[in-house]
């Protein structure tokens, strides 16, 4: 077994554009869930809206790439408003069900034959990111090495943009959360009635948190779409939301930078486990009849499910925070 190769794969996954996308989605969800206390189970819907906003504008209507991005972001904001206005006042479990239902409704509609002219139905849409890659400053024929990891020029360009976005989003969020606005949001999560008794419009703050977090989810969706050069409705199922939750909780819900750490570690571990298991099966090190090549891909989901349960129960402040959250 080549553990070194597995290690390199893991590192590759840790810095990949997709990981940056998940970090963005997690930053958004962290604002909604960790800071505002909204149990949004429909985050995949925001990602889908952003991605399709871009893809449909470019691939179906022939618009420019940047127009597509703008449409994607606006659509994510609109989805947030539409979803949030009737639901942010709901109790946690009802909000959870409503958001996951909304996200699934969206997915059904996106993949339906009826919507096919605009969304490509089950086949999805391709070829909407050419304009973006045309801006690539790195020579496309070369490969680049980041430590032991070798990537091609397009991936490098996307990584630079992606992680720059992550950094920008993280900085903006930190500034926002340290402002008086952030202080009110924190009070809303801790004790709504108290916040109201001090004259704060609780509804408005929750809605704002939902929309901002949703727009970040939209950016994540756009980034993923550009990376895969493909949007497909089944890529935005509820499993994606649960992955993002695991990332947020892994890093520590309510800590500003934690979602980034969480995303990196999450994909590092998943990728490493995948590699090791795959090699173990291929090389014959593991030769149980019930553990074949197909099972390797499943292992990640089993692990994520288990991790989600264990972390929430045993270390709710996340794996990477040292300051214990004061319990009310």
């Amino acid at each position: 077994m080549d553990l070194a190769a597995a290690g390199v794969d893991a590192l590759r996954a840790a810095i990949a554009p997709a990981t940056a996308a998940y970090a963005l989605a997690a930053l958004g969800l962290n604002l909604q869930f960790g800071y505002a206390g909204l149990l949004n189970l429909g985050h995949a819907g925001f990602m889908a809206v952003g991605a399709y906003g871009l893809a449909t504008t470019v691939a179906v209507f022939g618009g420019g790439f940047w127009l597509g991005v703008a449409v994607g972001l606006a659509a994510a904001a609109a989805f947030g408003l539409l979803l949030g206005m009737p639901t942010v006042r709901l109790r946690a479990d009802y909000l959870a069900i409503t958001t996951i239902a909304a996200s699934e409704i969206l997915r059904f509609v996106l993949r339906s034959g009826w919507a096919q002219p605009w969304t490509g139905g089950v086949y999805g849409l391709q070829r909407f990111a050419e304009e973006f890659y045309a801006l690539n400053p790195f020579a496309t024929s070369n490969n680049y090495a980041i430590g032991p990891v070798v990537v091609d020029a397009r991936t490098l360009w996307l990584m630079v943009v992606g992680w720059a976005l992550v950094a920008a989003a993280a900085v903006l969020l930190v500034l926002l959360l340290r402002s008086p606005w952030g202080r009110v949001l924190s009070s809303v999560r801790q004790d709504e009635d108290l916040a109201r008794s001090l004259g704060k419009n609780v509804f408005a703050y929750k809605l704002q948190a939902l929309v901002i977090g949703g727009v970040l989810g939209g950016v994540a969706g756009i980034l993923l779409a550009v990376d895969q050069q493909n949007v497909n409705p089944d890529n935005y199922g509820s499993v994606v939301t649960f992955f993002v939750y695991t990332i947020v909780i892994l890093g520590g819900a309510g800590r500003a930078m934690a979602p980034v750490t969480g995303a990196v570690v999450f994909w590092l571990v998943i990728s490493a486990t995948d590699s090791v298991l795959r090699q173990a099966v291929d090389s014959g090190t593991v030769s149980w009849s019930w553990f074949g090549p197909q099972q390797v891909g499943v292992a990640r989901f089993v692990l994520v499910g288990l991790a989600l349960m264990l972390i929430v129960v045993f270390r709710p402040q996340g794996l990477f925070t040292w300051r214990r959250r004061v319990r009310t």
Binding site: L39, A96, I97, F242, M309
Partner: protein, 328 residues
């Protein structure tokens, strides 16, 4: 619970059943404008069958919510578990399906009891909050579901018996014998549960615990044991639901997850905590879903059910037969 609300509820109940029936009848009549009466009747019959299966699968979720306040997002996995267990007995061990179904029901009860004993009771003892518990249930769902995928693999399989049948024809409407059996089994199980809750001493203790756990303790009821019973019943009924669902839809690793949202829609629409509500809500969801195929593309049929769910949660979260106090 205010006096006025209860009086209003009692007086409204017969009225409500009438309104529900009227609404469904109107819907069917309206649909008849797009299709022939025979098609409407067929769709209604199919919808009723599906609706009863949903009710059977979801009544456990409803009772668990009423007695413990937990919304169990892992409930779909009981459904899958029952179907898979029955398949193992039927196809691998060669047992007749009826016997396999019985084994599945017992297995479901055991699964429910184990989950309550091993996971939820310790979490309750440690004062784990509602939101954290929901996230744990999501992790548990992902974990078990992918274990099913791991061992059962991805393709759908059927039971050995009752796969192909001759349909009966009644006035142009088709009915497969297994569908009739499904409906009868579901109705019988739900009726038995309703009678148990209303007439038996233990059933009344369940309702008492759902009303007020502290007062139940003050009456000498060991509420922990009641909760254990509720989880066992919930698991058993969901497992049975899985078996009858697979009769029509085949056994697959994610069959429970795929119907979970619809099951939630059914029990929420009807009113959490009541058997009558589960039946009514399930039937409405089933019939609405099937009727919609007459005028909308069939790939969107679940969307209407989900829209109904979102609407109910926003405007009347206690559902049709639920009590206002339980909510929010």
């Amino acid at each position: 619970m205010t006096n006025a609300t209860v009086t209003a509820t009692r007086a409204a109940l017969p009225r409500r059943s009438v309104v529900v029936l009227l609404a469904v009848a109107l819907g069917a009549a309206a649909t008849a404008a797009f299709a022939s009466p025979v098609q409407v009747a067929q769709a209604t019959l199919d919808g009723a069958r599906f609706g009863l299966v949903i009710a059977l699968s979801g009544v456990g979720l409803s009772l668990i919510f009423a007695t413990t306040g937990l919304f169990n997002f892992a409930h779909g996995e009981f459904v899958t578990f029952g179907a898979i267990l029955a398949w193992l007995c039927n196809v691998m061990l060669g047992l007749p399906l009826t016997l396999a179904a019985a084994v599945a029901v017992i297995g479901g009860a055991a699964a429910g009891a184990s989950v309550e004993y091993g996971i939820w009771r310790p979490l309750r003892r440690h004062g784990v909050g509602l939101v954290a518990a929901i996230v744990v249930s999501i992790g548990l769902a992902m974990f078990t579901r992918h274990l099913f995928l791991f061992f059962f693999h991805g393709q759908s399989r059927s039971y050995r018996e009752y796969t192909v049948q001759q349909a009966w024809h009644l006035l142009g409407v088709q009915l497969l014998p297994k569908d009739l059996v499904t409906m009868l089994v579901a109705l019988a199980a739900l009726a038995a549960l309703g009678i148990f809750l209303k007439r038996s001493r233990t059933g009344q203790a369940v309702r008492a615990t759902a009303d007020d756990p502290d007062l139940s303790q003050a009456s000498g009821i060991a509420t922990d044991r009641v909760v254990l019973l509720v989880w066992s019943l919930g698991g058993a009924l969901a497992a049975l639901g899985g078996v009858v669902l697979a009769l029509d839809d085949q056994v697959s690793w994610d069959m429970g997850f795929r119907v979970l949202l619809l099951v939630i829609a059914g029990v929420t629409l009807g009113g959490l905590g009541t058997v009558r509500g589960a039946i009514a809500g399930g039937l409405i969801i089933g019939v609405v879903t099937q009727l919609s195929t007459l005028w909308a593309p069939s790939e969107l049929k679940y969307v209407f059910a989900l829209i109904a769910l979102v609407a109910i949660l926003i405007f009347r979260p206690q559902g049709i037969f639920g009590r206002a106090q339980r909510i929010g």
